[in-house]
């Protein structure tokens, strides 16, 4: 099963290598990864999407907690969190396809961030399902290039998932 795990770490060099090395060394999977500073610049947050059975996820969380630089690990469950990814996609744009592209931009609440004579570049954020749906519709029109971030996630409601919570 897929899990989104939020890891609060000390913002020191080598911490990312420790976390990633743990996954590779123990044969755990990383489906996506994103890292950035938090409100407190001495602390960073990593969001890792991984998959495995219950026992594997339990081991991943325990092993992460065991790393000295890891302050807090939160496993997000379905429905209790918000998650977003961002996609930048460069589309073939011809006179025939432009109206359809503009319609999709509207439907998916995307933005056109760059244009040239033959291309439109779209920026789109959303959860995994929304991006998948958008890509499915964009693909037949002609994708020149695309890049997407890993997932970021946050607990719903007033709860915090940083080290101070």
């Amino acid at each position: 099963m897929r899990h989104t795990i939020s890891i609060i770490v000390e913002n020191e060099f080598g911490v990312l290598a420790r976390v990633v090395g743990l996954f590779s060394g123990r044969g755990f999977n990383i489906d996506s990864l994103s890292v950035a500073e938090t409100l407190d610049p001495s602390v960073s947050r990593m969001t890792i999407v991984t998959h495995g059975d219950e026992q594997i996820i339990e081991q991943i969380i325990k092993q992460l907690n065991k790393l000295i630089n890891v302050i807090k690990v939160t496993d997000f469950h379905d429905g209790e969190f918000l998650d977003r990814e961002m996609l930048i996609v460069k589309m073939h744009a011809t006179e025939q396809t432009k109206p359809e592209l503009l319609r999709l931009v509207d439907i998916f609440r995307a933005k056109i961030v760059d244009v040239s004579t033959k291309s439109y570049t779209l920026e789109l954020t959303g959860d995994e399902g929304k991006l998948r749906a958008a890509l499915e519709l964009l693909r037949p029109i002609g994708i020149r290039d695309m890049v997407r971030t890993g997932k970021v996630a946050m607990q719903r409601g007033v709860g915090q998932s940083n080290g101070n919570a």
């Binding site: 080598g14 060394g25 325990k62 907690n65 065991k66 000295i68 890891v70 302050i71």
Partner: protein, 555 residues
């Protein structure tokens, strides 16, 4: 500054090897009263620090130079990491400005050792050095202990900064649990008291937690038989009637059957290693499993645990003992009499035996004679392979901290340098390395070290001119095709000892064995004993890889 920090941590002995970027540290050592033992290979420095730590219960310390000096510590670090041994290794590093430049003798040792240390540090300026050293020692000895590496760039060591050794340090992400959860402990105790076929399965964590006395008290009060892992040997007196001996791949018949038939299995400071469990599905299939361990990752990693108790073994046993005031000893004996009777039956069905004849020396006989002649009052180091298993089976240990063996990693060449470390910690005790002819050749250069420092380590080589354990597997599972396990070309170990200035002795017949051991023990310096043993003797009982531990080959 480094030396000052070491003194404040109570370090008296370090093992090391100098080199370019640690010249300044060595210069400071020259006029310091820290005892430095110069080894002949950096791997041995780390194993010696490890042996020192296991025997003394203190943090072992090693110091090496950058590049090859540092990479030579990897095996030693991995060995200590697998066995949770408290140790701090200092490695030199090229100056900070050259890091990443492929400078002479540069290696990214922090990167290389990340997965085989509990934690590691690269010190980037002199001001943070004292804090890092304090953290390194704290991490090494606290929680589940382990090795920590501190990488010291040359310019950092040379530069000056105001010296202030922190009294206390805090690490937000590091907070081991020592006390066990009382509710869980009560639940466990209830299950233990109700059990009809309980077994304690004790591991190295008992020794690391310095809780052997408490375990002994606990087991005796509840009248529960105790089996030990390879790492746990000595945590409960091996000659006590409640001892089942070792369990697992080369465990005793009664221990493996008792665990398999148990209804409550109490795992204490042990981690359900594959060499212990055999086929996991058939390991203690009918037992409710209680697991006491300080490391939450050990719990339910290999075997599903029914009552987990995260905490330090010593603290948790105290909590148990505190709740056991009204346990009636007589009632316990009556309650468990049928179980003890069953264990006795198993003991009678298969005894550890090897049949010493007149012509060939049986390796087990050598180990038993070492036990008998020393009275067990010594520190035993082992190499890895058959020698290690025979030592585990036939050298009955009654005390903790007397057994130095590479359990998790299985490092050949570990025993001799580990024995050096133990001997440095206890110059007046008898320290014996039980070795094979293969393993001893992996670190035999350290004969120079023991002679130089007058460390009277005794090495007993069980010489069968084979890589015996691999040969045994080839005999049993590969149709006797002894592919590259025949070691006919070895040095004359007696002459080798003499070449280094040590005493070399040889036993070719069973009647020589006692004489050689007595002569070695009487000699004040280091000795190599070369026992020519039965070449194709096997280690039994043996559980084939992947089989249930109740499925033993007995001979």
């Amino acid at each position: 500054m480094l030396i000052e920090c070491l003194k404040l941590e109570g370090v008296e002995t370090i093992f090391g090897y100098p080199g370019g970027v640690v010249l300044n540290i060595y210069d400071a050592l020259y006029s310091s009263d820290i005892h430095h033992i110069l080894v002949r290979h950096e791997q041995a420095a780390v194993h010696a620090a490890d042996g020192f730590a296991r025997a003394s219960g203190k943090v072992g310390v090693a110091l090496v130079t950058s590049g090859p000096g540092a990479t030579n510590t990897v095996t030693g670090l991995a060995t200590a990491y697998m066995d949770s041994i408290p140790m701090v290794v200092f490695s030199g590093q090229v100056p900070t400005g050259l890091i990443g430049n492929d400078a002479f003798q540069e290696a990214d040792i922090v990167g290389i050792t990340r997965p085989c240390t509990k934690h590691n540090f690269l010190v980037k300026n002199a001001a943070e050095l004292p804090g890092i050293i304090k953290k390194a020692f704290f991490l090494a000895r606290s929680g589940r202990p382990g090795p920590v590496l501190v990488d010291l760039p040359k310019d950092v060591v040379v530069s000056k900064a105001p010296f202030k050794y922190p009294e206390k340090i805090t690490m937000v992400g590091y907070n081991p649990t020592y006390e066990g959860h009382l509710g869980q402990i009560k639940k466990a105790l209830k299950a233990i008291l109700a059990a009809e076929r309980p077994v304690i399965y004790a591991g190295g964590g008992v020794i690391l937690s310095k809780a052997a006395d408490k375990l002994t008290k606990f087991a005796k009060a509840l009248d529960i038989p105790v089996t030990m892992t390879l790492m746990g040997l000595g945590c409960f007196p091996g000659s006590h009637k409640l001892s089942l001996g070792m369990l697992g791949m080369h465990g005793t018949y009664r221990a493996n059957l008792a665990v398999t038939e148990s209804d409550v299995l109490i795992a204490i400071g042990s981690r359900f290693d594959d060499r212990v469990t055999g086929k996991v599905d058939e390991f203690a299939p009918g037992a409710k499993i209680i697991h006491i361990d300080i490391d939450p990752t050990s719990i339910s990693k290999n075997v599903k645990v029914d009552i987990p108790i995260v905490g330090d073994v010593s603290a948790v046993l105290d909590q148990f003992l505190g709740l056991m005031g009204d346990v009636d000893g007589k009632e316990r004996k009556k309650h468990l009499a049928p179980w003890h009777k069953q264990v006795k039956v198993w003991e009678g069905e298969h005894k550890m035996d090897y049949g010493q004849g007149k012509d060939e020396i049986k390796p087990q006989y050598v180990v038993e004679q070492l036990r008998e002649i020393t009275g067990g009052d010594c520190i035993i180091a082992t190499e890895v392979g058959q020698n290690q298993m025979w030592a585990a089976q036939y050298f009955t240990l009654d005390k903790p901290h007397c057994w130095l063996t590479s359990g998790g990693l299985g490092t050949m060449g570990y025993g001799f340098p580990a024995a050096i470390g133990a001997q440095a910690a206890f110059p007046d005790r008898v320290v014996i390395d039980i070795a094979g002819d293969g393993s001893i050749q992996m670190n035999s250069q350290e004969l120079a070290t023991v002679v130089q420092y007058g460390l009277p380590v005794k090495i007993a080589i069980l010489n069968n001119r084979f890589l015996g354990m691999v040969r045994q597997w080839q005999e049993l599972f590969y149709g006797k095709r002894y592919s590259h396990t025949v070691m006919d070309h070895a040095p004359d170990f007696v002459k080798l000892a003499e070449a280094y200035g040590a005493l070399g002795l040889r036993a070719e017949k069973p009647s020589d064995v006692k004489k050689v051991i007595k002569q070695a023990l009487a000699h004040p310096g280091p000795v190599v004993m070369d026992f020519w043993v039965a070449r194709e003797e096997g280690v039994y009982p043996m559980v084939p890889a992947g089989a249930s531990i109740s499925n033993m080959l007995l001979a």
